[in-house]
Amino acid sequence: MNTVPTAPLLEVDNLQVEFKTRRGIARVLDGISLSLSAGETLGIVGESGCGKSMTALSIMGLVPQPPGRIAGGEIKLSGEELLGATERRMRQIRGNEISMIFQEPMTSLNPVYTVGDQIAETVIEHEGLSSHEAMNRATEMLRAVKIPAPEQRVRECPHQLSGGMRQRVMIAMALACRPQVLIADEPTTALDVTVQAQVFDLLKDLQEISKTTIILITHDMGAIAEMADRVAVMYAGRIIETGSVQDILRDPQHPYTQGLISCVPHLVRDPPAERPVLLEIPGVVPPLTDLGQGCAFEPRCARSQARCRTEKPKSRETTSDHLCACWAVEEEASA
C-alpha cells in the first residue's frame, strides 16, 4: 500500500510506563519505540497483558494516573510532544486528531443515548457544529460505514443494533472528525468471523479515502496479515521484533514471533484422521513485577543461553527495516 517513506506522523520514543501494584512497581511498558507515517497501518501483536492496550492508552493520554505513571520517553504527533501537553490540549487531540475504537462493541456505546447523539457529540465537541448539523454528519457517517437505512438507525439506541453494527457505529464515532490516527484496540475480537472480515474491509476502504494512519492492536495473526503494512511484536512490555508484514510473517527472527506464528492453526481441505496437535508456547508471561535482569522471554525460550539470563537484548537490525531483540539471533548473525 504505502511505500513512499514520508516524515513520521506519530513517533513514540523509548516510552516507559510503570504501575504501582501491591507486589511492587510493574514496568508495563519498557522502552517502546514506534514510528508511523501517514496512511500506514501498524499492527501490534502479542499475548494478553503484554502492553498492547497500554501503548494505545499512552498515546491517547489516558493511562490512569495513579496507579500508572509515565516514567519516561516521548510521544510526538506531527512533531508536537504529547506527554507534557496540558489536559486541555489532550482533550482537543482526542477524537479529533487521534481517536480510538474499543474491543467490546456491546459495551462501548452509552445505552441511554441514540447512536446519532453519540456520533454527533464528537463533532459538537471538536468542530462546534450545531446539533442539527451534527446529526446530519452522524447520518453521513453511518452511511459511510455502510449501515443500511442510516436516517432511521441514527435515531436508535445501541440495544437495537447488532454487535457488528455497533462496531460500525464505533468506527463512525471515531472517524467523525477525520482523525489522522485511528487506534483500533482489538476491534473484531468480540465479533464473529464473517463480521470481522466486513469490519476490516470497511476500515481499509475508509483508510484509502481519508489516508488515516491505523494502529491495529490484536492477537490475531490473520488480522495482521490482512490489514497491516508493518508489524510490532510485543512481549512483557517491550517490542521484541518489528518489520514489514512480509518480513515478520515469512521470516520471523525472534523465537517468540516464530512461536506465535507456528501457533496459528491452519485450515486444510482434507484434515488427516489423526489431527496434528496445536502448537503452543510453553509457560506464561512472567509477572511484570519481577522481570529480573535478562530477557523476559528467556524462561520459555528454546534457544536460551547464559547471556539471556543476565542481560536484556537490544533491538538490532537483522535486515533493512527489520529489527529484532534477541541474543541468539544476534549471535547467529555475527557468526
Binding site: 482533550r91 482537543q92 482526542r94 477524537g95 481517536s99 480510538m100 464528537t122 437505512a149 440495544h159
Partner: protein, 298 residues
C-alpha cells in the same frame, strides 16, 4: 427480547423499524405494575388534598370546635376531636401539607448532597474518595435521630430547620449508592470511549455516567421521601417541630397522652402517614421495575 417486537425484518434484509420512544416504553412498563398504578393514583389524591386542603374546610386546625375527645362521627366531626376539642380531620387535612412538603424538601436535600458527594468520590477515587468517604462515615456513625434532635434543638424548631436536620442526617445512603454506581460505570467501555473523544470530566460525570446511574437513585429518592415523612413524624412526635404548623407527626405527638382514652386522635393521623409512605414505596417499586432493563419484558 424487546427489539424483536419492534424490529420487523423482511427476507431481503430490509429493515422496517418502529422505534418506541423510551418514555412511552417506560410508561408502559410502569403501567404493568397494578399496585404501583393504584399507589400513584392514591398519592395524587393525597397531594391534591394537601394542596386544596384549605379550600375544603373553613375551619382552622388550631381552633376549638367541639367538646374535647369526642369520638369520630359525632355531630359532623368526621374523625372526632382531640383533648382540646380541635377537629382531627381538619388537622390531618392541614398536616398533609407540612408532612409532604417536609418529605419532598428533605429528600431533595438528601439527593443533592448524596449525589454530589457520591459522584465525585466514585468518579475521581483516590484522595477525593478517601476524604469524602471519611466525612460520610462520620455522619453514618452518628445516630441520625439523635443528631437531628440536636440540630433542631440547637436552632429554633421551624419547618426549615427540620428539613435541614433530616437532610443532613440521611444523605449518606444516597452518597454510598451513587458512589458505587459511579465506580461501576466509570470502568465501562463507553466512559473510556467518551474520554477518547475528548469529553470533559464534568460532561462525563453529569451527561455520560449520571443518566446511567439514575434508575437506582430515582428509586432511592422516592423511598427517601417516604423515609423523610416518617422522620419528620418522629421528630414531631418528640415535640421537635414548628409549634405553629400542624403535621401528621405533631398530631400524634400532641395526643400521645390520650392514646388509650381517645385512640382515634392518633390512629387516623398514623393511618395517613402509613398510607402515604406505603404509596410512595409502591411507586418506588414501580419505578424500579420500569427503569431496570434487566427485568424488562420477562
Amino acid at each position: 427480547m424487546a427489539d424483536t417486537s419492534s424490529d420487523e425484518r423482511t427476507i431481503t434484509g430490509d429493515v422496517k423499524v418502529t422505534i418506541e420512544h423510551p418514555f412511552t416504553e417506560f410508561l408502559r412498563m410502569y403501567f404493568k405494575n397494578i399496585a404501583a398504578v393504584l399507589a400513584f393514583i392514591c398519592f395524587t389524591v393525597i397531594v391534591l388534598v394537601a394542596i386544596l386542603g384549605p379550600l375544603l374546610t373553613d375551619l382552622d386546625p388550631f381552633r376549638i370546635v367541639w367538646m374535647p375527645i369526642a369520638p369520630p362521627g359525632q355531630d359532623g366531626f368526621l374523625l372526632g376531636t382531640d383533648s382540646l376539642g380541635r377537629s382531627i380531620a381538619v388537622q390531618i387535612l392541614y398536616g398533609a401539607r407540612a408532612s409532604l412538603a417536609v418529605g419532598a424538601a428533605a429528600a431533595a436535600i438528601t439527593l443533592v448532597i448524596g449525589l454530589l458527594v457520591g459522584s465525585l468520590a466514585g468518579y475521581y477515587r483516590g484522595w477525593v474518595d478517601e476524604a469524602l468517604m471519611r466525612v460520610t462515615e462520620f455522619f453514618q456513625v452518628l445516630p441520625p435521630l439523635l443528631l437531628s434532635m440536636v440540630l433542631v434543638g440547637l436552632f429554633s424548631p421551624t419547618l426549615q430547620t427540620v428539613v435541614f436536620a433530616i437532610g443532613v442526617v440521611s444523605w449518606t445512603g444516597v452518597a454510598r449508592l451513587a458512589r458505587a454506581e459511579f465506580m461501576k460505570i466509570r470502568e465501562l467501555e463507553y466512559v473510556k470511549a467518551a474520554r477518547s473523544i475528548g469529553s470533559k470530566d464534568a460532561r462525563i460525570i453529569w451527561r455520560v455516567i449520571l443518566p446511567n446511574a439514575l434508575p437506582p437513585l430515582i428509586v432511592t429518592a422516592a423511598l427517601t421521601v417516604g423515609a423523610a415523612i416518617l422522620f419528620e413524624a418522629a421528630l414531631s412526635f418528640l415535640g421537635l417541630s414548628d409549634p405553629n404548623i400542624v403535621s401528621w407527626g405533631k398530631i400524634i405527638g400532641d395526643n400521645r397522652d390520650y392514646f388509650l382514652e381517645a385512640p382515634w386522635t392518633v390512629i387516623f393521623p398514623g393511618l395517613a402517614i402509613f398510607v402515604t409512605v406505603l404509596c410512595i414505596n409502591l411507586i418506588g417499586d414501580g419505578l424500579n421495575d420500569a427503569f431496570n432493563p434487566k427485568l424488562r419484558e420477562r
